[in-house]
Each structure stands twice: as C-alpha cells, then as structure tokens.
Amino acid sequence: MEHGTFAALFRHEFHMDFRRWRNLKWAWIYVAALLVLALAALTLWGGQKGFRLEFLLFATYAFPYLVFGFSYRSVKREWTGSTFGWWLTLPYSRARLLLAKYAASLGQTGIALAAYFGAVTLLALYNAAVHGASGSELRQFAEVAVQYLLIVAFISPFMLSLGLLTGILVRSHWKALLPLTWVAFGVLGNVLNWLNLARNSGPAGDDYDPTLFPLESPVYWLGVPAILALASLLLAGAVKVCNKYLAL
C-alpha cells in the first residue's frame, strides 16, 4: 500500500500542477507568440553576420527561477487554498508528503526542460534549413545547448529544495528565515548569468563565447555532489520545519 500511495500522492501533485498549467491560457498565448517571434526573427536575421544560434539559449537563464517556482507553489497552494488541514492529516509522514511534492516538481522540471530544449533544437534546425548553417555551427550549438541543459539540470535539485523550504517557512515559526531563502533564490537562481559573466565581460559581440564550461570541466563532477548534498540538506530542513515548527 505504501508504494501505491506514494504513486497516488505523486499523481495528485502532478495532476494539480498540470491542471494549473492547462488553465493558464494566457501563458500559452505568450508561449505561442514567442515561438512566432523567434521564427520570424530567424527568418529575417538568422543568416546575417553576427547572429549566433546560441542566442536562442538565453531563455535558459530563467529556468532556475522557474524550477524554484514549481516546488514553492506546490506548498503554497496548500496554505492559500486552506487545503493544508487535509494534506497534513493524510496518513503518511510529512517527509513522505514533501517528497511527493519534490518528485512531482522534479517531473515538471524534466518536462519543461525537454519541451524547451526540444523547441530550441527545432528552431536551430529551421534556421539551418532556411539559411544553410554549417555542420560545425550546428555542432557547436548542440554542445553549448547540452552545457546549458546540464547546468540547469544540476542546479534544479537545489532550487527545488529551496522552493520547498521557502514554501514551508511561509507558514512556520521560523518565518524570520524567509529573507535569507529569498536572497538565495535571487543570487543562486542567476547561476547561468554568473557563469556567463565569468567568461564574458562585455556585451555579446563577435568575440562572445557562449560556452559555460566544457563538459570535461571539474565543475560537473565536483559541483554536482556538492549541489546534491546541499539540496538534501535543505530538503531535510523543510521536513524538520514541517514536523516541528509549523504555525497552524
């Protein structure tokens, strides 16, 4: 039963988020408009000197914030909708309840990343078809895209834990910690920009280097365990606050 109920909890969380996105009709209008604009821009300027396919990846900078929002909202909706009385009295430990939210937010993150990078790849292929990009250009684009994707994927567990902890702190006796988590959100959510600034000091010109870290960089194999450890720590903190310090 335990396994089945975790699946049910996960499904419930996922379903609630999915339903929310489906109901956000205006958001889909924006997404469609952005795609049309990107296609138009590629058609008009895609072949010009100075245009870099990697510019398509700039929207990735917002991903850590978006990911934070997934988990933060999943907790916040229990407080704002007054459903916490039901949620917290379900016959499961609070660790399990929070893990279900975490897992559902992770699932959403996966879907959002796949959708975004899928769309960007299609746009790059469209550009190549219209303006005849070289194989090396496409290869370089793919390499940079993978770097962006990996960095977002690596930072996501941390941002998800931070979102969950922030959501829990909102309704706790430790509310005073909220400014710290919001500062962490602001600073660490900007990770892609920090990494980019470390390589490019000026505006994106001809000498602009869109690569963040080569895949063999120690950042990946040193940073990832550290990020996962931090994410676990924050998640454990969220469970602790949820168990002991909620203000209900």
Binding site: A8, R19, G81, S82, T83, W86, L90
Partner: protein, 308 residues
C-alpha cells in the same frame, strides 16, 4: 474497554500564549462527544492535536489506544477529519475531489467509485457530482468536505465546527449524517459553540473555556450537576407574579411569564403555587424548568456563551 480518545493533561502554547492548559478528555467508542466552548477556548487546538496537525507541548493524547506522537500515520488512517476551513480543490468537481481524497486513503478502482456514490448520496449531492466545487454554496462545500472525510470508512470522525456559516438545509443534512454514522457504530467528536447542536446530537460533552475543561460527562449529568434549576410561572391574566418568601431570589421576566433560578426548585414551586392561590391569581403554567447548557456555561464561567 479503551476509550476512543484519551487526552491526559495536554498542554499546548502558541508562541508563549497558552491555548490548552492541561486538558483531559475521555471519549467512549461509538458515542457522539461534543466539545462546547466559545471561540479561542481550545476546541480546534485539541482536535489538531488528535489529528496530528499539532504536537502537544506536554501531556499525552491517545486515539484507539495509540499515542498521537508515535503512531500518527496509523491513527490518521482511522480518522476522518473535517477541519474548520473548507478543504477542497475549488477547480475540481465534487467527484474529482473525492477521487483524490479516496486514493490518498488507499481506496481505489470500482470500490472507490461505489463509495463515492454512497457518500454523495449520504450528503445529498449525488446530482451535483460533476459540478466544479467553486460553484457550490458554503453549505454544499461543507457537505462535500464531510463526504471526503467518510470515504475510507473511518472509525472516528472529528468535525471542527461543521455548521458555521451554512444554510439550514445543509445543517439538517449534516445532522442526519451524524446520526446515521452513529447507527453504523462510528465515534464522532464534534466541536461547536452552538449549545442546541450539542443537545440535539451528543450524548456526552465537555465544556471548554480558556484552554481548560470546566465540565465533562453525560449531557444529563452535566445539566443536573451544573445547571441552574429554575421555576417558570405564567399567569392567566398576565401582570406581575405574587412575591415569594425571602430566600428564593427575584423573578425575572421570560417569554410570557416569570422565571426564578433557585437551588430548591420544588420548594419554590410549592411556595409560588401557594402565593398565587392566596392572591387569587389564575395560573396558566407553573413548572420546574430543565436546566439548559446556556445556564450551565453561565454558572461555570460567569459569562454567557453567546457573549463570548
């Protein structure tokens, strides 16, 4: 037999302000137990402790013999909790809400479908199953909320002021449902600040005020023990009643007659009857009045529950 609920000197504070000052309760299995008290008395806090929403600072709370701190998840499997605030997903239909609630308690498939039909019929909303909850009145939402708490056939149903702000039709449905739950053998813990609800539904009660239980027991016993006894007199011609001998207090107007509260109601009745006869006053009604919970609360706290 173990009581369904046993709270032993439970203490709980919110940021240093005491909410429960050592509450002890015993609720027998299969009964309907009323928690009566004004807002802020500690009713909701007690219920939140029993459901595991809050942990007590001190003292012990047990449900079906299990400790709420240690066996919270196992206890919650046997509880159906109806919180004070409506706890539903507004955008979902009543049916979809119930599917979620049922699945979370391990009820699935055909069994869940059948059970949803049963509980919706029980709360009188079978024909509105597919409507979004956001279109429902407060009373209807409350009924869906109660239906959700019953899906897994809990042994104990904890209801925190379920009739606040709802229409009379929904209120009647809820009352009927509680009676039917009791017939099925479930235990009900019901909090309210409406005395008439306790009198209509509960066989046992505890009166809670400022974080303390000030009276507890079977309804009749509590009324007998703490209720102010009174004698009511209504004259045929109206007007002021004949005076009673000293020591019986002063009559106060009530409805169409006069009421006198006294610890010696039989003597007062006899004396009033004699006084009426001596003064040739025609008596329309003269009787000993059953004590009310209102008078119990007044005599125990010195204030009216309604004033609170």
């Amino acid at each position: 037999m173990n009581p369904a609920i046993a709270m032993d000197r439970v203490v709980k504070s919110y940021e240093g302000k005491p909410a429960l000052k050592g509450i002890s309760l015993a609720v027998r299995e299969g009964g309907c137990f009323g928690l009566l008290g004004p807002n802020g008395a500690g009713k909701s806090t007690s219920m939140k402790i029993l459901t595991g929403l809050l942990e007590p600072d001190r003292g012990a709370a047990r449900v079906f013999g299990r400790d709420v701190r240690r066996d919270g998840a196992e206890i919650r499997r046997q509880i159906g909790y109806v919180p004070q605030a409506i706890t539903l997903y507004e955008k979902l239909s009543a049916y979809d809400n119930l599917v979620f609630f049922g699945e979370m308690y391990g009820v699935r498939g055909g069994q869940l479908k059948k059970r949803i039909g049963e509980v919706l019929a029980q709360v009188g909303l079978a024909d509105r199953a597919k409507d979004a909850v956001e279109k429902f009145s407060g009373g209807m939402k409350r009924r869906v909320n109660i239906a959700a708490a019953l899906l897994h056939r809990p042994r104990l149903i904890i209801m925190d002021e379920p009739t606040v702000g709802i229409d009379p039709q929904s209120r009647n449905h809820i009352f009927e449902m509680i009676r039917s739950l009791r017939r099925e053998g479930a235990t009900v813990l019901y909090s309210t600040h409406y005395m008439e609800e306790v009198e209509a539904l509960c066989d046992e009660l505890a009166i809670v005020d400022r974080g303390e239980v000030i009276a507890q027991g079977e309804l009749g016993d509590v009324l007998d023990r703490y209720g102010a006894r009174a004698v009511y007199l209504e004259l045929q011609e109206g007007g002021t009643p004949p005076p009673l001998p000293a020591g019986f207090g002063k009559p106060v107007p009530k409805e169409r007659g006069w009421l006198i509260e006294t610890p010696r109601p039989l003597e007062a009745l006899t004396a009033w009857a004699a006084a009426c006869e001596a003064g040739s006053a025609g008596v329309k009604r003269l009787e000993i009045v059953r004590p009310s919970l209102e008078s119990v609360f007044l005599s125990l706290t010195g204030t009216s529950l309604r004033d609170n």
